[in-house]
């Protein structure tokens, strides 16, 4: 199956700092999504981004499918950005997404 690696595994930021999270995958995909899991365990879909670049407020994501990686940018981080960020990839059809092991982000005031 597809292997998904996320880096860094852990990240501590001061409020207001910027960060870049990376997701590498081992095979071609046409489905890639980023999620944020808050401290209460709720998973929120941030981006559905099989290719190209998208932006949503202080967050943006870029996927370069031909080079098998995706980046999630967080600008002007806030304490509410804390939690775990997961990348999930897959191919269209009757298959489930494969999740990475996540990046644990802590934003300190």
């Amino acid at each position: 199956g597809i292997q998904v690696e996320q880096s860094p595994p852990d990240l501590i930021l001061q409020e207001g700092a910027n960060s870049t999270l990376r997701c590498n995958f081992s095979d071609s995909v046409n489905n890639l999504q980023w999620f944020h899991q808050n401290p209460w365990g709720q998973l929120i879909n941030l981006f559905y981004i099989p290719s190209g670049t998208k932006q949503n407020g202080r967050l943006s994501a870029t996927t370069v499918a031909t080079e098998r990686y995706s980046l999630l940018y967080i600008s002007s981080s806030q304490t509410t950005d804390s939690g775990v960020y997961f990348c999930a990839v897959g191919r269209t059809g009757r298959r489930a997404l494969t999740f990475g092991s996540g990046t644990r982000l802590q934003v300190q005031p």
Partner: protein, 112 residues
């Protein structure tokens, strides 16, 4: 906004009990999934379905079973709960075109 609901939100039960975790979605999605996750750790797929009367086991071996009799409903059952089943169980859904995956709020299960 995604409409996918899980009940109960928290459950504490004794060893040997039979339990059913409920998951329903109102979006008409064909695909539904169950993931198991220990706090802050990676998600493990335990079951998925791509339509009524179709279910498949996921990557992580599980003693639970699922059914998909109606499009909107995908319950998970443990016939005899054990402490090793203590975890968070997350239900998700998407359509066949792989639209964004939407998660419910999860059920935190503790087996004593």
């Amino acid at each position: 906004e995604a409409d996918i609901y899980q009940t109960p939100r928290y459950l504490v039960i004794g060893t040997g009990k039979k339990i059913t975790l409920e998951c329903s979605q109102t979006m008409g999605h064909d695909k539904m999934y169950w993931y198991q996750q220990d706090p802050g750790m990676e998600l493990h797929l335990i079951h998925y379905s791509y339509g009524v009367n179709s279910t498949e086991k996921g990557d992580l071996s599980s003693e639970s079973t699922v059914s998909r009799i109606r499009t909107e409903h995908f319950p998970l059952t443990l016939e005899s709960a054990r402490p090793s089943h203590t975890s968070q169980y997350l239900c998700a859904s998407s359509d066949l075109r792989d639209s964004p995956l939407h998660f419910g709020n999860g059920t935190r299960l503790t087996v004593t």
